[in-house]
């Protein structure tokens, strides 16, 4: 990263420290700072949204934003800001854009890594995961999603990756059961861990109560995710579901479903509650208005346990084997380039 970027980073860090002193007063002033450092055409939509939020102090969004100061550990919040806002957005948006211009391909905002096992029992080692993460950072990606049957079966590895790549934010999709006090302390130590806990909307979620309580007590940031289809959509299409997860301290909820937009009652509710409840929600892959179309290859891509990377885990293409090839060559391969040349509609979830 060049001197200009480093100075910008210092400026943004200073801006954050300023904000941290008195968030309510300084938030509008922070917007002016960000506007100064980030080019006009970068993140325009997001900044417009942000400006609107901080102008309306009674809004649910302002409430959610304010809760980040009440509910999250100071150092963790600072790291979150540095990694998410500075690295993954303000700077990486520029860095990724430079890479995109240089290499004529998409550089995704996030890469998802499957920490599970293949049918033959193979999985990616720490060294392999680390190598790919280094390549991703070179190109301008600072957001990593850890998935798999249960990523926290490899607890030590997850913490080691977080501890090495302190300039990245890690979101781990987990059933949450492996989160104990010791792990929570490690998450506090590394500061760049966000848990996305799997919820079912049914009574078995009650066993997660102690885990949510633990995360809340430790002031760690976390949210939930759920998957549903026609048979269980009703479990989530209730206001009580939303209120429950908010009361349990979740800051976000990701919804995954192959139900078509017109049939999806949960999606309809989600859109309604966006105006009312302090919760960040995204419904993959229906919120295409927000993301400007299918996110495959552009916002995210997916690495499976056998080392093959694809624009999206739901696609049936073979992908590129990163044990043999570089990440950049994968981004320039045909299956990824389709999403660069034009913005196609979904080929995975809704096929």
């Amino acid at each position: 990263m060049n001197v200009g970027s480093e100075l910008k980073k210092l400026g943004l860090k200073a801006a954050y420290n300023y904000l941290d002193r008195d968030p309510e007063t300084n938030m509008p002033k922070l917007m002016e700072w960000v506007d100064k450092f980030v080019k006009e055409d970068v993140l325009t939509l997001q900044r417009e949204v942000f400006r609107k939020i901080i102008a309306e102090k009674n809004s649910n969004w302002y409430q959610l934003l304010a809760s980040l100061w009440q509910d999250i550990d100071g150092d963790v919040r600072k790291t979150l800001f540095e990694n998410l806002v500075i690295n993954a957005n303000a700077l990486a948006a520029l860095q990724a854009r430079e890479s995109e211009e240089k290499y004529h391909c998409n550089i995704p905002w996030a890469v998802a890594f499957d920490l599970g096992e293949t049918e033959e029992g193979a999985s990616l080692s720490f060294d392999q995961l680390d190598n790919i993460m280094e390549q991703a950072k070179e190109l301008g990606t600072f957001m990593f999603l850890l998935t798999g049957r249960e990523p926290l079966e490899r607890k030590e590895e997850v913490i080691a990756l977080c501890n090495k790549h302190t300039d990245c934010q890690f979101m781990v999709f987990t059933n949450g059961l492996a989160i104990d006090e010791d792990f929570a302390d490690q998450a506090l130590r590394v500061k760049n861990f966000i848990g996305a806990i799997h919820v079912t909307g049914r009574t078995e979620d009650l066993r997660l109560d102690s885990i949510f309580a633990l995360l809340k007590a430790k002031k760690l940031p976390y949210g939930v995710y759920c998957t549903y289809d026609k048979s269980d959509a009703e479990d989530f299409a209730q206001e009580s579901f939303f209120d429950d997860i908010i009361s349990r301290g979740a800051k976000f909820c990701w919804f995954f479903s192959s139900l078509k937009r017109e049939e999806d009652r949960v999606y309809a509710l989600t859109k309604m509650y966006r105006e009312l409840k302090p919760l960040l929600t995204i419904n993959f892959c229906k919120d295409t208005v927000m993301t400007g179309g299918c996110i495959a290859g552009r916002y995210y891509c997916s690495l499976s346990a056998d080392g093959r990377i694809k624009p999206c885990s739901f696609l049936s293409c073979p992908g590129v084997d990163l044990k043999e090839q570089s990440l950049l060559s994968a981004y320039q391969a045909d299956c990824f380039m389709e999403y660069y040349k034009r913005k196609p509609t979904c080929r995975g979830v809704f096929e």
Partner: protein, 184 residues
């Protein structure tokens, strides 16, 4: 907490520093020597400099704990120099890396209590503001650390005792007078 792994990694780094400077040592060198994998290293430490920081902190703690109560301050400073000589390779090879600031801070942390002790003795019976006393302690600490830094950059020869005797003369001659200037 047992700190077994951290101690083993620290021992490996120190061993490697007997032959190479810090900037030439990789995490893989350390883990190969120690017999653990990279994952284990990164679980505990962000990078090699993080491990160095840990060593400095542990060494400083050990030194503090070994300081005998009521020991003459000259003996304290000589003990400090002997302690640094014990770790000669570590100090020399860390010195030539980019993290000299870490080494300076480490030496300041070891030297300051001894200097503060001396100042406290001279300040007895005088009315001096704490921040002024701290300032005077800082000036003499920086002086001592400066001498030690020169000594390290000259190769940590055994003849340092002569220089330290001169430093004691400087303190003897000037510290009390300096403190008088701040006394109310």
């Amino acid at each position: 907490m047992s700190l077994l792994t951290e101690k083993a990694l620290a021992a490996s780094l120190k061993k490697l520093l007997e032959k190479k400077t810090l900037d030439k040592i990789t995490v893989k060198d350390i883990t190969d020597d120690c017999g653990v994998n990279r994952q284990t290293f990164y679980y505990h430490f962000h990078d090699v400099y993080d491990l160095v920081e840990w060593i400095f902190t542990e060494e400083a703690k050990k030194f503090m704990n070994s300081c005998v109560e009521g020991r003459d301050w000259k003996e304290s400073i000589e003990a400090l120099m002997d302690r640094l000589l014990d770790d000669k390779s570590f100090i020399m090879n860390t010195f030539y890396s980019v993290n000299r600031r870490q080494l300076e801070k480490f030496m300041q942390n070891l030297a300051r209590p001894a200097i503060a002790d001396i100042a406290q003795t001279f300040a007895e019976g005088k009315r001096i503001e704490k921040q002024d006393l701290d300032f005077v302690v800082n000036v003499f600490t920086f002086g001592l650390v400066g001498i030690i830094t020169e000594w390290v950059s000259d190769g940590m020869n055994e003849g340092y005792k002569g220089d330290i005797d001169k430093f004691f003369l400087v303190i003897d001659g000037t510290m009390e007078g300096t403190l008088d200037k701040f006394a109310k």
